[in-house]
Amino acid sequence: MSATQERLAPPRAAGGYGPEPLLEIIPSPRPRGLVKFITSTDHKQIGLNYMVTAFAAFLVAGIMAELMRTQLIVPDNHFLVADTYNQLVTMHGTIMLFVFGGPFAFGLANYIVPLQIGAPDMAFPRFNNLSYWLYLGGFVVMMFGFLTNNGAADFGWFGYAPLTEAIHSPGPGADMWVVGIALTGFSGIFTAVNVITTVFTLRAPGMVMFRMPIFTWNQLVTMFLVLLAFPVLTAAMALLWCDRHLTTHFYAPSGGGQPILWQNLFWFFGHPEVYILALPYFGVVTEVISTMSKKPVFGYKGMVAATLSIGGLSMGVWAHHMYTTGAVLLPFFAALSLLIAVPTGIKFFNWIGTMWQGVITLSTSMLFCLGFLGLFLLGGITGVMLAEPPLDFQLHDTYFVIAHFHYVMIGATAFGAFAAIYYWFPKFTGRMLDERIGRISFAIIFIGVNLTFFPQHDLGLRGMQRRIFTYSSFEGWNFLNLLSSIGAYLIGIGTLFTVINLIMSVRQGRIAGDNPWDGQTLEWATSSPPPEHNFELLPPIRSERPLWDANHPDQLTEVGH
């Protein structure tokens, strides 16, 4: 049975948050097990579905990366054949970006955003369920490429024309890539509509926009970007499909098409996408740092403004991936790309300001956030370097770019995701993760990431191109590649620790209680895991951290800083 949710004004709650009224819940029967997984319209179940699938995709794409690094560990290696290597390169990138990075954040948005704004569910619960199925379908269709005759797509994750045309990439593998991405694209658009509507219409009374936690703000801005970027991607895929099947020539130069058109369309999606992958995790980091330092976010409004300006500027930087085509307006894109470092710098300043004089708990989630600060700073600085056209002309399509990109993506997306797992796992399951294993996992991954990707800066400067499947020993790249591969194995081992931790703690972890971290925002005001329709009672919302104000009446949050 369905429930029409009502907010009533009942009598004073015993032992609650003072005179504020309750949210009365009309319960409905809940399906269990597989049926629950398939049919649930509860935002928490769908959020978990997203996150578990995305984490599985992370492991799959991670194994692909390990295979690639094994191929590159020594010169003239024949561990993989060239074509398999190309397929792995393509699918590693595609899965990490389209199936892990974005959707894991969508899962977090699904689970956490309604809780943080005091909503009973997402605005469109069934629509939400549908978007999960399209996402899962996209992942499965993409992976089925490996089972076809010609293998999966092998033209690199940004599928430049004319290599993607049917004559150069025959077979259904490439089509599966196209269809898979289009399906995940639809899923992303649906999620964006859902989250924006939820934030705009389902906030609890008193939760004005400028009291929303930074995580919710960042998710909102992310969804703005999704709304702009994903339709372009899906349209680009549709045109590519027409080129491959209906003998149109949008991208094929042979028929008067424009390969540059594909690059423009793809990167018009692709650059906001990088921020779609980063902004939600900036939000995670903000929440964790603030909670673990027992302080409100330093410069709340500055943080929101920085998020908004990153979102805005990210729509005008797409062609900095295309400097070397000679067909783009260099000063415009260089200026905007350099400008985007400013709001990111503000965020760094505010994160450090939040920790300043705080009572810092070095939990695993906090460690991942500190790791994030280091890695993302390095990735950001190389990003500023690459935004300058003269330097980019030298380094384009070398391992320097790979190093830059992985510092950004692992720093923000992977470390952000790990921090989110360690921070919110008690809320998801009601049990704590093992902190000791978590710290070991962090240490190994952090060392591994630096060992893998730092040498790649130098490899790029020495001229190693991206996507080559082997190299000769006279190039002088042997030692650095060896280091890089060892680092990749370390990342794998470190991740394995977290996987074991997750599996063990789901059943045997210490019972967490409602609010194990002394959290400040509303998701900790309900039980762990939260009941259907989330809240039995809400504390009064008078600042951006209502729960802290309710729990620590002697240290109320200053309003209006």
Partner: protein
């Protein structure tokens, strides 16, 4: 409502500005058109929000007021359907439609059945709550 409207309108105006600068400076069609349509998308939502705001005759909702009590939000919040199989059915139909784009005709039949059935189920389920 008003702040949400400003947010969306701001995004639209920002994109319009970028679009004009970029369009005149670069004379490049693809990016200009994309920016223009991006701007239009945001302005569309902004205008809808403005209409809603007008319909409420400028009265703030409880979630827009700094001093709102929980009781101010008393009343129906919305309809939240319980578990439903139909989204999954439409999803499977969508996936088969995707496969049909690769392998052709036959899969359209399967996709059509799932999507058609799913949409009917979805709609009927939605109507059932009115009673």
């Amino acid at each position: 409502m008003r702040f949400e409207y400003k947010l969306m309108m701001g995004a639209g105006v920002f994109l319009a500005t970028i679009c004009i600068i970029y369009g005149f400076w670069s004379q490049e069609a693809t990016g200009t058109v994309l920016l223009l349509f991006g701007c239009a998308a945001y302005v569309l939502v902004a205008v809808y929000l403005l209409m809603q705001w007008r319909r409420r005759q400028g009265v703030d909702r409880p979630e827009d007021r700094m001093d709102a009590e929980q009781s101010d939000g008393a009343g129906e919040v919305g309809f939240f359907p319980a578990a439903s199989i139909w989204p999954a059915a439409i999803g499977i139909g969508g996936i088969f439609a995707g496969v049909a784009l690769i392998y052709g005709t036959w899969y359209w039949v399967i996709a059509g059945v799932f999507i058609f059935g799913g949409v009917i189920g979805f709609t009927v389920e939605g109507e059932a709550r009115e009673e």
